[in-house]
């Protein structure tokens, strides 16, 4: 799911184990939006070029993605997904 705040865009992802994670929304390869990507397990795949990231660590795990995507501290409370967007 896409989430925008100000000039920044994010992707809110739920892994197959039900863990929620908020990551930067833009693929580090060619800037496609990851919110439209395919999630398999804890891996999110960019819909444009199939680059893959670990949703929980941000690590780029398959080319053409080479640079990690930023992951934000996330929790679910009272059925609300909360993320620390500012460190």
């Amino acid at each position: 799911m896409r989430f925008d705040r100000g000039e920044h865009t994010y992707a809110v992802v739920r892994t197959s184990e039900g863990i929620c994670s908020v990551i930067d929304g833009v693929c580090t390869h060619a800037k496609a939006h990851l919110a439209e990507g395919f999630v398999d397990g804890k891996i999110i795949e960019c819909p444009k070029h199939n680059g893959r990231f670990d949703c929980l660590t941000g690590e780029a795990v398959a080319t053409p993605a080479l640079v990690a995507v930023r992951v934000y501290e996330t929790r679910v409370e009272d059925e609300m997904i909360q993320a620390r967007l500012f460190s």
Partner: protein, 300 residues
């Protein structure tokens, strides 16, 4: 977009089995006229069918398991005479800038080029000799201009080792042929990349040739062509090419289903390979002289 290993395993097994069968038939018929027919088929299995395996596994949609995709990708890349790392990045560029002049390195037929030269490109000239030259360059640790353009530096070393391994296979095949005093070994490895690519040419030319350049709407720069089940087995459903470009994450075994779901939003598919070629050949002849001409696809 859901991935499964089973369709990819089934498809790949059938492909390897067919290669094994016709390779064996080619061997037992070697020296007779039967060999012509068997190697014709072997060549298609090797030099044409491997393209769709290269493509699907390059996208990592053939299998759910990553190493399976990569394993078949490296084999298919060798068969297609493509260095796998560079071709992965050039294909990513192709999806970013489909048919964009100066950006899409996979545009094989250019406007304003005499048709006979385009035909040469399609049959692998000068692509295969120049690819071989690039392998030799990469094996020496040097990169081509294209690689420097769109391939990240951190992947150069991978290209170097890929080139060394692929060249070693080619050289070993030649040595075996020399020792056996027969070019039969090269009919199994190396030469099929040339003599077997003819069917791929017919299929692949339907993808983008003659259509609009420098547009972002894939419905205008890409074709979907209906094909029979045998052709779709060979081509791994890449005839649904608009659907593939719109949704590269959809595995090939789901492309027909995707087509049915969205076809009302797409231009009319070509009813057959022949109908697509009937449009393409005159278009290319005209584009050889008139660079402003292209086929306008009617959108719904």
């Amino acid at each position: 977009m859901k991935r499964r290993d089973l369709p990819g395993i089934a498809h790949t097994t059938s492909w390897f089995a067919a290669l094994g069968l016709f390779g064996w038939l080619g061997h037992i018929s070697w020296g007779s006229w039967w060999a012509v027919g068997t190697f014709l088929i072997y060549g298609v299995l090797y030099g044409s069918m491997s393209d769709s395996r290269w493509h699907e596994c390059g996208h990592r949609t053939a299998f759910r398991t990553k190493w399976m995709n990569d394993f078949v990708y490296y084999i298919a890349s060798f068969m297609m005479f493509r260095e796998p790392e560079m071709s992965r990045w050039s294909h990513a560029r192709h999806h970013s800038d489909t048919n964009v002049v100066g950006r899409d390195s996979e545009i094989t037929i250019r406007r304003g080029v005499p048709l006979y030269k385009s035909v040469g490109v399609l049959v692998g000239f000068p692509a295969i000799p120049s690819e071989l030259a690039r392998w030799i360059k990469n094996a020496r640790g040097k990169m081509s201009t294209e690689q420097i353009d769109f391939q990240p530096k951190e992947t150069f070393r991978t290209s170097v080792w890929n080139a060394r391994i692929y060249l070693t296979i080619i050289v070993c095949s030649i040595i075996v042929a020399v020792l056996l005093r027969s070019f039969e070994p090269l009919m199994y490895v190396g030469l099929p990349s040339i003599y077997g690519r003819w069917l791929l040419i017919l299929f692949a030319v339907t993808q983008h040739a003659g259509l609009a350049e420098n547009v972002l709407d894939h419905r205008l720069n890409t074709r979907t062509v209906y094909m029979n089940p045998l052709s779709r087995w060979i081509y791994w459903n890449m005839n649904y090419h608009i659907e593939h470009h719109l949704y590269p994450s959809v595995p090939s075994h789901q492309l027909k289903r995707l087509h049915m779901a969205i076809k009302d939003q797409l231009p009319t598919p070509y009813p057959s390979l022949a109908s697509a070629l009937r449009e393409i050949v005159p278009a290319l002849r005209r584009q050889a002289k008139d660079t402003s001409y292209f086929v306008h696809r009617q959108l719904p």
